[in-house]
């Protein structure tokens, strides 16, 4: 057993209102520089939809992530032999059109326009060419509903849906959708790290944050094509790639990352999980249907004395072990089995988990009116407007079992709370539903508290980073004594 600690994340999609505050908080801190105009380390997608970049989940086009070949894992995008015919260009990169052409507006025109018959307008200007453009797409184009008939239909998660379910989806795209906020998953088997020819990407030992060393990056862009979530980006100005850094300067000072901190719906949870690094390869190699269970078994119980002893042996600090014991993510993922990894079939073992969203009952359309009534308020989850298969493609590696389990448990907790607060449901029924959903009364109470009444301390359990210990392992921390500075004195730029 090789115990490592990881700052892990959980997004409660049932609470997300799609306000994009997280994206803006991130943008203002990290990607408002030259060369990063098009980057969104955090973005919020509308599902069903094609996302950003367009159809990033379609790995037949982008070749991201890992694949099993002759029983062994290999990167889909590149490899020692496969790089040779493509040595002069990287064939799997999204084009700028697939992200979007970043733009601003000609605000000056509002003040300086000559007097005329009409109100002056601020025309959009491309931030790439500086010319006036017609906006064709944006980072949350699906949300703007500007092109959903095109984009919603092409969501890769629709694969495998029956015709009836597809028809249902046409209704969804008009009547219901849910939000899917995305940041870097800080995977335990990161494809980006594996693909980098310069060895510039690394997974930080003490907290598992995946970072790009700006001094070592040579702009090969292998990480951009290898990451199946398309969460590394190439900065055309500095010639280096950049990615979400989980606001590590904030984490190191005990603050939640900007997107977590600013989240209006309080959907984001952050906490340490301990996992067994020796099992990464074995787990990533499991058959698709066993991946989620495999990853859960890789995450270790921080209360187990043996795990604690092994963690100490690996040099994990006492305070980190304590944080792991209080981790809300551990509870959602392992104890309650509510949170699921996105697209674990890419085999990168993402360490960001999602609680799948509830959705209204299927409404029937008789040609004139939409009938959305149901006999009971908390309808059976299989009647949800979002087909289980769709959620299964997104969070269950193509299988619906885990998603249904999570949704059923959420529903049971709602029944239980309704029995207490409203009283129109009798407690015996509520308890029966809880039992069916594999949930005890205590557990339901705890889920309710951590979902609805959670404080900042409940949501973000950030251990002291003990950066000094991490530095000590590599260099003498006293070399920085009596020096002042903020890391970079000169920003990253092109060239060696």
């Amino acid at each position: 057993m090789n115990v490592r600690s990881q700052i892990s994340m959980m997004f409660h999609l049932d609470k997300c209102i799609g306000c994009h505050t997280c994206s803006i908080a991130c943008k203002n801190i990290w990607t408002d520089r030259k060369g990063t105009e098009y980057m969104w380390f955090n973005n919020v997608e509308t599902k069903p939809g094609t996302g950003y970049p367009t159809k990033w989940e379609d790995q037949d086009s982008y070749n991201g992530g890992w694949e099993k070949k002759n029983g062994k894992l290999r990167l889909k995008s590149t490899g020692r032999g496969r790089i040779i015919p493509n040595i002069f260009h990287n064939p799997n990169l999204p084009s700028m059109d697939d992200y979007y052409e970043p733009w601003t507006y000609d605000y000056q025109n509002l003040f300086n326009a000559p007097e005329g018959d009409d109100q002056p307008t601020a025309k959009p200007i491309s931030m790439v060419t500086g010319e006036y453009i017609d906006i064709e797409s944006g980072p949350n184009w699906d949300d703007d509903l500007s092109g959903s008939p095109i984009y919603g239909e092409n969501d890769p998660n629709i694969d495998g849906l029956t015709d009836q379910e597809r028809e249902q989806l046409f209704a969804i795209q008009r009547l219901v959708f849910f939000y899917f906020p995305r940041i870097c998953n800080h995977c335990s088997n990161p494809a980006c790290v594996a693909s980098c020819p310069s060895g510039a990407l690394y997974k930080r030992g003490e907290d598992g944050i995946v970072l790009i060393d700006q001094n070592r990056c040579r702009g090969w862009r292998s990480c951009v094509s290898a990451c199946p979530y398309k969460k590394t980006y190439f900065n055309w100005s500095t010639g280096k790639s950049e990615k979400c850094l989980l606001c590590f300067p904030r984490i190191e000072t005990g603050q939640a990352p900007a997107c977590f901190h600013s989240c209006v719906g309080r959907i984001r949870y952050l906490g340490v999980v301990l996992y067994d690094a020796d099992r990464i390869e074995e787990v990533a190699n499991l058959p698709q249907e066993e991946l989620i269970d495999g990853q859960r078994s890789m995450i270790l119980d921080p209360h187990d004395p043996q795990v604690i002893a092994e963690a100490r042996k690996s040099g994990i600090h006492e305070s980190t072990i304590k944080a792991a014991q209080n981790s809300p993510v551990y509870k959602f993922v392992k104890t309650w089995k509510l949170a699921l990894p996105p697209h674990i079939e890419y085999r990168t073992l993402p360490m960001l988990f999602y609680v799948p969203p509830m959705s209204p009952v299927i409404s029937s359309f008789d040609g004139k009116t939409v009938d959305g009534t149901s006999e009971d308020l908390f309808h059976d989850i299989s009647d949800s407007r979002v087909p289980m298969k769709f959620l299964g493609n997104l969070f269950g590696a193509g299988y619906t079992g885990k998603v249904e389990y999570a949704l059923r448990k959420q529903k049971a907790v709602r029944w239980y709370r309704r029995a207490i607060t409203v009283g129109d449901v009798d407690m015996a029924t509520a308890e029966r539903i809880l039992l069916e959903a594999d949930c005890s009364v205590e557990e339901a109470e705890e889920i309710y508290k951590l979902t609805s009444l959670c404080t900042v301390e409940d949501r973000f359990v950030i251990p002291p980073s003990h950066r000094e210990e991490a530095i000590e392992a590599l260099q003498d921390p006293m070399t920085r004594k009596q020096e002042a500075g903020f890391g970079f004195t000169a920003g990253p730029r092109r060239g060696m």
């Binding site: 379609d58 799997n92 999204p94």
Partner: protein, 309 residues
């Protein structure tokens, strides 16, 4: 050199030390300096009679003998009796201009040489021409001039000689004094289909053009043209090599096998070029044809097509 002491700019007077550094600072300038110095020394010395003989050997002897009979050009024995000194000097300075001017004697000797034009010697001056004419006059008075013509043993050429000549021509056998191989600039009968060089003239009929074995042998022993001279002045061909080459030239002049119009080969080369490019393009499209180009754009296009139909 300006010096700043405190915040005051002081005078820019150069010290001896500064000047002596000049040579160290700029090695290129130093080398140029010494080279110029050497040139000035070298030009000072007067031309000796030994030098003029050398000049004659290098520039004239490949086409002219003194008392040995006609080579490519006429025998120069007692040449001064044929025309006056002024005419000769003018002819030496620019033979072509003389012939073009319509001078009857110049035209006559041009015709006698089967229209092989006498070369304008680079760096020729009136003084040097006079010196050469003096030298020829002096040599003419001797019983046997050193330039009366070397009797080259030109026995019948064997097929082996010709084969050896081909080896030398193509550069498969290195020339003894490391001169560049003929094929770099010349061709003979397309040299077995390999075309050969196009920089210099085609040498297929060279023996006939230079009027016989003796003349070409003499020509090759000290090639007079500017290009050839620069290559062979210090790396002359030896007798055996000349013999082999002449044998080769003679044999190939009568060889019909490769004596075809080389434009056929050029057409073949162009066709192969096009064919090769086409093959390359097909190969590339096979390897990279299915490469990833765009995602969003095709979606929009497809939906537009569907919308229209």
């Amino acid at each position: 050199m300006k010096r700043i002491i405190g915040n005051q700019l002081t005078s820019g007077k150069r010290t001896l030390f500064d000047r002596s550094l000049f040579l160290l600072k700029s090695p290129l300038k130093t080398i140029t300096f010494f080279m110029l110095f050497g040139l000035i020394l070298g030009y000072g010395s007067p031309a000796q009679s030994q030098d003029i003989a050398q000049t004659f050997k290098q520039n004239c002897s490949s086409c002219h003998w003194i008392g040995g009979g006609r080579l490519i050009g006429p025998d120069l024995k007692n040449v001064s009796q044929r025309k006056d000194r002024d005419w000769h000097v003018r002819f030496i300075l620019d033979p072509k201009a003389m012939i073009d001017s319509g001078d009857p004697y110049a035209k006559k000797i041009f015709a006698e040489a089967k229209n092989v034009l006498m070369l304008k010697v680079p760096g020729m001056t009136a003084k040097l021409a006079n010196d050469l004419l003096d030298f020829i006059e002096a040599e003419s008075k001797l019983d046997s001039s050193q330039f009366a013509g070397k009797k080259v043993a030109l026995g019948p050429f064997s097929a082996e000689d010709a084969a050896k000549g081909l080896e030398l021509f193509t550069g498969r056998t290195k020339l003894e004094n490391n001169a560049p191989g003929c094929i770099n600039c010349h061709t003979v009968n397309s040299v077995g289909g390999s075309l050969g060089g196009r920089l210099g003239p085609d040498l297929t009929q060279v023996v006939a053009r230079l009027q016989g074995r003796t003349a070409i042998t003499s020509w090759l022993s000290a090639p007079p043209t500017a290009t050839m001279k620069s290559q062979f002045q210090n790396k002359p061909l030896n007798e055996q090599e000349i013999k082999s080459l002449v044998a080769y030239f003679e044999s190939s002049a009568n060889n019909d096998r490769y004596n075809f119009d080389s434009s056929i080969i050029w057409i073949a080369v162009i066709f192969c070029g096009f064919g090769g490019s086409l093959f390359g393009l097909i190969l590339f499209s096979g390897i990279w044809g299915k490469r990833f180009r765009a995602v969003r754009h095709p979606l929009v296009k497809l939906s537009k097509i569907r919308g229209e139909s």
